[in-house]
């Protein structure tokens, strides 16, 4: 694949997957996935468990490698041995199901750590930005709390702020509300909705169908490592054509 870095414009897809294949041993997890995501789009990936949703978004920021096909982020091939991984990770933020905050650091330190240590930015400026981000995820006053002292929803919002501190162009959300109780799910979803409204490109793996319908510009339904069906939420939820999609929707809606 020829390098197209530097020639990428916003008219082209910001994330582009072409026939992506991945297997763990003999188990084929991704079986030829192709999708294009434009800048500012909010995309939800839904599907039964084990359908390769999480693996798919892990491949986008090179946490997992692929065996075939190509993934391009802003025109740059992700699975390239010569790839500058730091440059890629500056562009892509990721939030996990289990929050994965650093338990030995306070909320503020968690947010500040990567910009200071990885990007070598000025500590004073980073702190100012980190405090703003914490305010943005509605956690004022929790700056000096340790993750163990915060609820699941609060931890997840710190995790979002931590990813945003790297000023990414794209955010990946891997079932970020799956480990939360129903009441705190909402506070995290509101945060994501705010982000989407600001024009952040978001790729979400989610089981929150109502939320997907509300915020997504485009919905992909995956099963057994392939995209079975995709479309804008109105047509997807009301007018699904594939029987597999209809069956899944009838079970979760």
């Amino acid at each position: 694949m020829a390098h197209t870095e530097g020639r990428w414009t916003e008219a082209q897809p910001i994330v582009s997957l072409k026939d992506v294949r991945k297997s763990y041993g003999t188990v084929q997890v991704l079986n030829g996935i192709s999708l294009d995501i434009m800048k500012g789009e909010v995309v939800c990936i839904i599907g039964p468990s084990g359908s390769g949703k999480s693996t798919l978004i892990r491949c986008i920021n090179a946490l997992a490698d692929i065996q075939g096909g190509s993934i391009q982020v802003e025109g740059q091939e992700v699975h390239d041995a010569k790839l500058d991984k730091l440059a890629l990770r500056k562009k892509i933020g990721m939030v996990f199901q289990q929050y994965n905050l650093f338990p030995h650091k306070t909320a503020l330190q968690n947010v500040m750590m990567a910009p200071v240590k990885v990007l070598k930015e000025n500590r004073v400026e980073v702190e100012k930005r980190a405090r703003e981000l914490i305010r943005k995820v509605r956690l004022e006053g929790k700056e000096n709390s340790y993750p163990g002292e915060l609820s699941g929803g609060q931890q997840q919002r710190v995790a979002i702020a931590r990813s945003l501190a790297m000023r990414p162009d794209i955010m990946l959300f891997d079932e970020v509300t799956a480990a939360l109780d129903p009441e705190t799910v909402k506070e995290v979803l509101v945060t994501i909705k705010d982000l989407a409204a600001e024009g952040m490109t978001c790729i979400l793996v989610t089981h929150e169908m109502g939320f997907a319908r509300e915020v997504a510009d485009h919905i992909y339904f995956t099963d057994k490592g392939v995209i079975v069906e995709h479309g804008p939420p109105e047509t997807f939820f009301t007018n699904a054509s594939d029987p597999r999609t209809r069956q899944f929707l009838s079970q979760v809606l």
Binding site: R89, L101, F102, V118
Partner: protein
């Protein structure tokens, strides 16, 4: 801990109030009201009192003996040699501290290598760890005495290696191996999500290890580390076998100078109490730390 027993509920069914259930009473209070002899005897306060009492009675007996016989009492002999034994014990402490320092630094590095992504490095570190962990400490001491030259000359600078330094190196090898295992275990016990989130934030593997993983392992390693130090201190008398000055060597000199067989057993008991007084507080702090951190995580 003793708690006053809670009054028994009325046994007579006629006197029972509806809704009153025996099972809801705190049973623990009854069990705790019986005094546990282990807790009563074997706690730090009573142990200290016991030793103070023993020492006091020894002093008393010694005075009585001093007054009664022409020969100096056991106690006054022990007191006479105390400065020398103290000096010897200082060597033991010095050797244990230096071995611990070297062993810890090397052990942490070896432990990190044990989880290296490079297979040959991992295997090599594993082999070194297992080799030194499964070797008798005394044999390692003999080896370090025999293999390390008495001085090393490099670039015109001569570094002498006296016996005690060789002993320090010999003892630091098993410490290194144990430490390596503790570090490896602690690193593997940190959830993989920590690695993933650090990686997605752009941290390199080295940065992740240094800033994210290792700080989280300290809590888990600390009790083991202190326990290892106590064990190491108790192993330091081994150096007397290879002719390095320590409390054991000085004790032997003192005994031969006195030439009194009746001193033999009290003297070695005295040496034991030096080690006990040094190591017991460490084990107390260790178990306190273990209790403190076993709840969290």
């Amino acid at each position: 801990m003793w708690l006053p027993p809670i009054p028994e509920p009325a046994r007579n069914p006629a006197l029972r109030r509806p809704g009153h259930m025996d099972v809801l009473l705190p049973r623990r209070a009854y069990a705790a009201s019986a005094l546990n002899w282990r807790e009563t005897l074997l706690n730090p306060v009573s142990m200290t009192l016991l030793f103070a009492g023993l020492t006091a009675s020894l002093i008393g007996a010694a005075w009585a003996q001093d007054a009664a016989s022409a020969q100096p009492s056991v106690f006054s002999v022990l007191l006479k040699w105390t400065p020398l034994l103290g000096e010897g014990f200082a060597y033991n402490v010095l050797i244990s501290l230096l071995s611990m320092l070297i062993g810890t630094v090397l052990g942490v590095m070896l432990g990190i290598l044990q989880v290296s992504p490079l297979m040959p490095v991992r295997k090599f570190a594993w082999l070194v760890t297992q080799f030194f962990r499964n070797s008798p400490w005394l044999v390692l001491l003999f080896y370090s005495i025999l293999l390390i030259p008495f001085q090393v000359t490099a670039f015109g600078i001569t570094v002498p290696f006296p016996g005690w330094l060789k002993a320090v190196i010999g003892l630091s090898l098993p410490v290194m191996a144990y430490m390596s295992e503790y570090v490896r275990g602690a690193i593997l016990s940190v959830p993989t999500g920590q690695w993933e989130s650090a990686e997605s934030l752009g941290f390199t593997r080295g940065q992740t290890m240094r800033m994210v993983i290792l700080p989280q392992t300290v809590k888990r390693i600390l009790p083991n580390w202190m326990n290892l130090y106590a064990v190491l201190t108790m192993a330091t008398p081994l150096v007397s076998i290879i002719g390095v000055d320590d409390i054991m060597g000085y004790t032997r000199s003192a005994l031969s100078a006195e030439g009194r067989p009746d001193i033999l057993i009290p003297m070695y008991l005295y040496v034991l109490s030096w080690f006990f007084a040094y190591c017991y507080p460490i084990s107390l702090v260790t178990s306190w730390l273990e209790r403190r951190y076993s709840v969290k995580l």
